[in-house]
Amino acid sequence: MDSKYNKSAEQLARQKKQRMRVIKRRKTVGVITTTAVVIALSVGMAFMALDAWDREYDAHQQMLAEYRAENYRPEISQEEKERANIQYYEDHYSPETIDNLKGSIINEYGILIDAIVENEKLQVNTDVEALDSDRLDDAIDEYGHFKATCEKDQVNYATASEEVRIDKAMSLYNSKIDVLEDQLLEAQQKAKYLEPDSSEFLENKEIIENITRKIKSADTAIDVVGDRMVTMDFEKRQAEEGKQK
């Protein structure tokens, strides 16, 4: 994109409120000039790219903070942290892949999980009292999907290696979050055009709340899985150190 359009886009993003009278008007001959349309489109696209970058940057910062909070371990060397950060920048820069951050960063450390066990613990045991009937239905449904995915791929989830189960679980959660986030965005956009307090607005609001809850549920599942992975990695390292001794 031409830098003059980028500059104009940045100016547009910073424009201040200003009132001005229209002192003269003239009809253009037929249509607006091609040059004006090209400028309009180029600046518009440059502006949207700025906006997308801002959103990507915010998402990046948030995910990086989450990753650091979840994976902070004193025994990880500065070198390893830097390598993970570089890897993150290289592999997870676009919005489409940011959602996969946790899975791949954790894989970077070669950590394993048992997603099915953790899923059951989260959905059935640990959190059972907090689950209302809807959430329980969601959990059962989600678990069913997970099993169906494994069966479709001819993977015996009960006996598959941890690596296979990790991969399937992370892929399932990530794709689930992708779909939910698309639905959430659509509902949020729709809300802008609905009459506040109208029945359609309230219905849409309920949809937004449901989707948000589902995203949180999937996020929580990933978090639990992440914690478990950290523990397992620690145990694995201890076992290796034990063997060496």
Binding site: K16, K17, M20, I23, A40, S42, M45, F47, M48
Partner: protein, 79 residues
């Protein structure tokens, strides 16, 4: 007072002339997407009728600007 239309060029009190490339109508408001050719300058403003005068008020709400730019860019891309 005749409202501003898409096929117009308007001169503001700072003596700058802008082409009206698109108009977005929302919530009983009219937003103009204005282009000044020489400087490749774009502004997004609301059209306000005050008596016999037409005033344009540039927006400073970034979310609204984003919304208007998105709509306009989609329209222009279709053409």
């Amino acid at each position: 007072m005749e409202r501003i239309t898409k096929d117009e060029a308007i001169t503001l009190e700072n003596n700058k002339e802008y082409y009206v490339v698109e108009i977005v109508e929302q919530d009983e408001k009219r937003y103009l997407y204005l282009v000044k050719e020489e400087e490749a300058d774009v502004i997004v403003a609301e059209e306000i009728i005050e008596g016999e005068e037409i005033i344009i008020e540039t927006l400073d709400d970034i979310e609204k600007i984003k919304e208007i730019v998105k709509i306009v860019t989609e329209r222009l891309n279709k053409n």
